[in-house]
């Protein structure tokens, strides 16, 4: 409604500016253009910035639940909240009867609203160097501790709608993969200007355990990754020693070389900034904690699907956890006849028990979407955690104030209190009730338009206009030279199944076609390491071209042809 008013205001103004002698077609063209120009980049309404939600049930999180109260939002902040609150005259009033107001939900670890650097692929070094000296890891691959997520923000990420639909107003964002990945930013998920989205930056250093390139690039093994992290942190310690000496003496010593990466690592070594490690299985969590202990880092664990096994350890170490709500499930397309090990079945069954286990152990934790592309199961999975024994109010905290506390922004975020950022979710029922709908969403005091989810899963995809069936000869342009891949695909409806054959052997693949765009994924065994690869390309007649992204390697272009379409069928 607000939006309509804003639009009509714009159009009327425009119309008045143009003399009536202009042909109506031209006028409309210009008007539409202007409307689009004004509206297009704005994901939220341009209405007044004073709102009052009255007579609603208010879950403040920090100060209990008001069964009937009013919240006033002004200029992006919560101006008033309480049972008896005077509603400002200039406020837009929302009748809150039958509605519940929660603080905006925080996704405590995501890769969202980021413009990722293209092809962070393999870097020179290691094996690819032809040197009479034994190659050394001096090239420092995947070393980006100085990279700020805040500097990579893009406001117009199409995925924001998906986060809004489940009530997520705020996220800790950072590229997902790498080793020294960079420093995350806590952002509000709306705004024209990326700079205005940032609530806090940097929040944490992110260290991952992604291997680089098998036998080609150091580190190609997990133990190599850990050795590399360890050596780099020792380097950073020594760097500080050397600079301290230089700053102290000034004369008589050669100045050390400035190094942006080692410089950027100082705050974590001084415990001024925490380090987020992605670790899911118990053994991974133990590894991350051991590494943090070795360098006296302030660790935060993200993922923790097997956290129920190590809750006591996490409590003892005082390590906060960002629990992924992307609980492990049977992978899509898994062989239904396959004998799944008991350990894996147990993990799938018990992962939702992690939050309750952490709560009982006294571990501070928040929820994350766990890098779901579409976090539509965010609340449903939080409900699973409740079903597994987590008190509901603790689940709400894990979605709001806990994250704010872990990230050091609990003064301004995470609850409905006067003076805090006006991020609110308004629902027509209990947050974790399956039937509940989100009726309003406010980010920085602005109402966000909730775009409806596509009716059916996959309905957002266009009907296929191309048929991918057949045998394709694809050539991937890798930095090491071209790699031939034979893709035998069969398309039924918009679904694809088939096989990929390359120098790495033959693997099954599956995917989908949307319009003329084809996507298929596979897990390839490269010299004993499994890597996920995803092809995305467009089909034109009997040619296909696009990019293939290889886990931990980056994106590479590919092209291909289909010599005899469907001949094998």
């Amino acid at each position: 409604m607000t939006r309509k008013r804003a639009l009509s205001f714009v159009s009327i103004t425009c119309l008045n500016r143009f003399p009536s002698r202009m042909s109506s077609a031209v006028t409309w063209g210009i008007v539409m253009g202007l409307i689009l120009a004004v509206v297009a980049p704005v994901a939220y309404s341009r209405g007044p910035l004073i709102y009052a939600i009255k007579d609603a049930r208010i879950v403040t999180v920090t100060h209990g639940v008001l069964s009937k109260g009013t919240v006033v939002l002004r200029d992006g902040l919560i101006e008033a909240v309480g049972r008896r609150v005077e509603i400002p005259e200039d406020a837009r009033v929302i009748d809150g009867r039958g509605l519940t107001v929660y603080p905006g939900l925080i996704d405590a670890h995501a890769e969202v609203a980021l413009r990722l650097p293209k092809s962070t692929g393999r870097q020179p070094g290691g094996a690819s160097e032809r040197s009479p000296r034994p190659p050394t890891p001096s090239k420092r691959p995947s070393l980006h501790p100085d990279r700020l997520a805040a500097a990579l923000l893009q406001a117009d990420d199409a995925r924001l709608d998906k986060f809004h639909r489940v009530g997520i107003t705020t996220a800790l964002t950072i590229p997902r993969r790498g080793i020294f990945i960079g420093q995350s930013a806590l952002i509000n998920l709306a705004g024209d200007d990326p700079a205005r989205m940032v609530i806090r930056s940097p929040v944490a250093m992110h260290i991952g355990f992604d291997r680089m390139g098998g036998f080609r690039t150091f580190p190609g093994s997990l133990m190599g990754v850990i050795a590399y992290i360890r050596q780099t942190l020792y380097d950073a310690q020594h760097y500080e020693l050397a600079w301290n000496r230089y700053r102290r003496l000034k004369r008589g010593v050669r100045r050390p070389a400035w190094d942006k990466a080692l410089e950027a690592l100082q705050p974590i070594l001084k415990r001024e900034e925490p380090v987020v490690f992605i670790a899911n299985e118990a053994k991974e969590i133990r590894r991350a904690i051991a590494l943090a202990d070795e360098f006296h880092l302030n660790a935060i664990i993200s993922g923790a699907s097997e956290g129920y096994q190590v809750a006591a350890l996490l409590a003892e170490k005082g390590v906060p956890v960002l629990v992924s709500l992307n609980f492990p499930t049977q992978p899509k397309g898994a062989d239904p006849q396959a004998d799944v090990p008991l350990r894996v079945l147990r993990l799938r069954a018990r992962a939702p028990q992690t939050p309750a286990a952490l709560y009982r152990a006294g571990v501070k934790f928040a929820f994350t979407s766990g890098f779901m592309d579409d976090p539509k199961d965010f609340l449903a999975n939080a409900a699973k955690a409740i079903e597994a024994g987590l008190p509901e109010e603790e689940a709400i905290k894990a979605l709001t104030i806990n994250a704010a506390e872990i990230f050091g922004v609990d003064e301004q975020l995470g609850s409905i209190e006067v003076g805090k950022i006006a991020n609110l979710v308004v629902t027509d029922g209990e947050l974790f009730d399956e039937k509940t709908k989100i009726t309003h969403l406010f980010i920085d005091g602005r109402q966000i338009e909730l775009k409806e989810a596509p009716k059916k899963p996959g309905a957002a995809e266009e009907q296929p206009t191309a048929d991918a069936s057949g045998t394709w000869e694809l050539t991937v342009e890798s930095p090491q030279g071209p790699i031939s891949v034979t893709a035998v695909l069969e398309q039924v409806g918009n679904k694809i199944t088939g096989t990929l054959t390359s120098m790495f052997g033959t693997t099954n693949t599956e995917g989908a076609v949307s319009g003329a765009t084809v996507r298929f994924t596979a897990t390839v065994d490269v010299q004993g390491q499994s890597m996920d690869v995803e092809f995305e390309g467009t089909i034109e007649g009997n040619t296909m071209k696009g990019t293939v992204s290889v886990q931990g390697q980056g994106e590479f272009p590919f092209t291909g042809t289909r010599p005899q379409k469907g001949a094998w069928l």
């Binding site: 094996a127 036998f215 080609r216 360890r230 004998d339 071209p482």
Partner: protein, 463 residues
């Protein structure tokens, strides 16, 4: 492989049995194994003997052992007890790659960092009587990573599996694998240096020379610190280099070198090189042509950890003979037989038996190949490798003579605790299957058909 995998998954949960049992027992518990044939390895074989286990150690061994009234008694009439088997060359329980093959020297990587205590192979090998394993880095580079000696304490964490006090070690590799001439790199990728046996020697020499320099730098720093006596304003230590630190430990004799090798010439090369740099090779691994240079190996003081009867599976293994272990033993080399395989590790007792057929070793000598000898090679023979009073109660009860193909491992003790019990294992199998079915049903009913999302790391075992 597939069958194995399936078998493994069936067994996956069984270990929880032993875990539960282990938890129920304090290491302070006293156990008497009674009326067994005890093959002590170092002190002969005792018929109708008993072993008393107390506080995780062997408290008494002999014909007549007095046990306290509250001791748990295990009747082993007709059964054999041997020391826990030690596998001197294993690659089980490693996450994320056994090789850091990207560089020619990767002395900085540590198996200890990536031990996977949930690897089902630990339990399988345990069920074959293995209690200690030397988990080695692969052989892709002349100087590989640091190994980890573990006890197969199934159910414990990675850290708790480490063999406390075992000296650190490192993998070296000679010959075809490190020069990689039999491996095609992906198209467009240049070959990693070195590509020849000459190059392998050069890489090792170069790295050790660099390590010497590194030691000198640190010595100089320490001398300066000592000389300044307090005034250290302008002194900072040299930069730590984890690779060179490990190699410096090799040069100081503090880190055991386990060198993968095949041919006599490369074995001699490494002996010369080690002697030139003033350290000793702890073990030559595989060492299939060791019989040709056994005297030289013995003179250097290295051990040899070889295969029983594998040969001709690659060009440098053409001259292998099954008499290798026996010949080297007769020439005074401390010899062990290893598995290099999660599967073969389950019956190292039979590998040892072959040395009686090929080369005529005595029973004790043959059993020593998989017990006290590997313990000596890993410098842990004061703790394990034989049944002697004061040693760790790492014991295996076989249903019959351990050199018989019909004998089965019935119980395995580590530190006096039962970690494998065949009866309990069999009893739990139906239960495990039932739990799996229940979980599958439970998961099916919960999962609506949805979710295309990334899986948290769910590593299939045995990949």
């Amino acid at each position: 492989m597939k069958t194995l995998h399936r078998l493994g998954t069936i067994v996956v949960g069984l270990m929880l049995v032993s875990l539960a049992q282990a938890e129920g027992r304090s290491s302070g518990q006293t156990i008497l194994i009674r009326n067994a044939t005890i093959m002590t390895v170092t002190k002969g074989t005792i018929k109708n003997g008993s072993i008393l286990i107390r506080d995780g150690k062997i408290a008494a061994v002999g014909k007549r052992v007095r046990a306290p009234a509250d001791a748990q008694v295990i009747d082993a009439t007709g059964k054999y007890v041997i020391p826990g088997i030690i596998d001197c060359h294993s690659h089980i329980a490693v996450d994320g790659g056994v090789n850091e093959g990207s560089l020619a020297v990767t002395a900085m990587v540590r198996i200890e960092d990536v031990l996977d205590p949930t690897d089902i192979n630990i339990y399988r090998d345990l069920a074959g009587g293995v209690t200690t394993a030397n988990i080695l880095h692969g052989s892709a580079n002349p100087i590989g990573g640091q190994n980890a000696v573990i006890k197969l304490r199934w159910g414990k964490t990675a850290k708790e599996m480490l063999f406390e006090g075992a000296p650190p070690g490192i993998k070296f590799a000679l010959g075809e694998n490190p020069k990689r001439s039999n491996f095609s790199p992906p198209p467009g990728t240049p070959r990693r240096f070195p590509a020849t046996r000459m190059g392998v020697e050069y890489v090792i020499r170069e790295a050790l020379t660099e390590a010497r320099e590194y030691m000198r730098k640190w010595d100089a720093y320490r001398q300066k610190v000592a000389a300044r006596n307090g005034d250290r304003n302008d002194l900072i230590p040299p930069k730590r280099d984890l690779k060179l630190e490990a190699l410096a430990e090799v040069l100081r004799g503090e880190r055991l070198v386990h060198a993968h090798c095949y041919r006599a010439d490369e074995i001699l090369m490494l002996i010369r090189l080690a002697e030139e740099f003033g350290f000793q090779i702890a073990t030559f691994q595989h060492v299939l042509e060791g019989y040709k240079v056994a005297k030289e190996i013995a003179a250097h003081g290295a051990g040899a950890s070889t295969f029983s009867d594998w040969w001709a599976y690659k060009v440098e293994a053409y001259d292998a003979i099954p008499y290798n272990a026996a010949i080297m033993t007769r020439k005074g080399v401390v010899v062990s037989l290893n598995s290099d395989s999660a599967e073969l590790a389950r019956r190292l007792n039979l590998e040892a038996a072959k040395a009686i057929k090929y080369g005529g070793l005595t029973e004790d000598e043959a059993l020593a190949l998989v017990t006290i000898n590997p313990a000596k090679q890993l410098h842990i023979d004061d703790r394990v490798g034989s049944i002697e009073v004061g040693k760790d109660a790492d014991l295996v009860i076989f249903s019959g003579h351990p050199f018989s193909v019909y004998s089965i491992v019935e119980k395995v003790f580590i530190d006096g605790q039962i970690y494998f019990d065949r009866e309990a294992d069999l009893a739990r199998r139906a239960e495990i299957e039932k739990e799996k079915e229940t979980l599958k049903e439970q998961l099916k009913s919960k999962e609506k058909p949805k979710k295309k999302t990334e899986e948290p790391s769910e590593k299939p075992t045995g990949r």
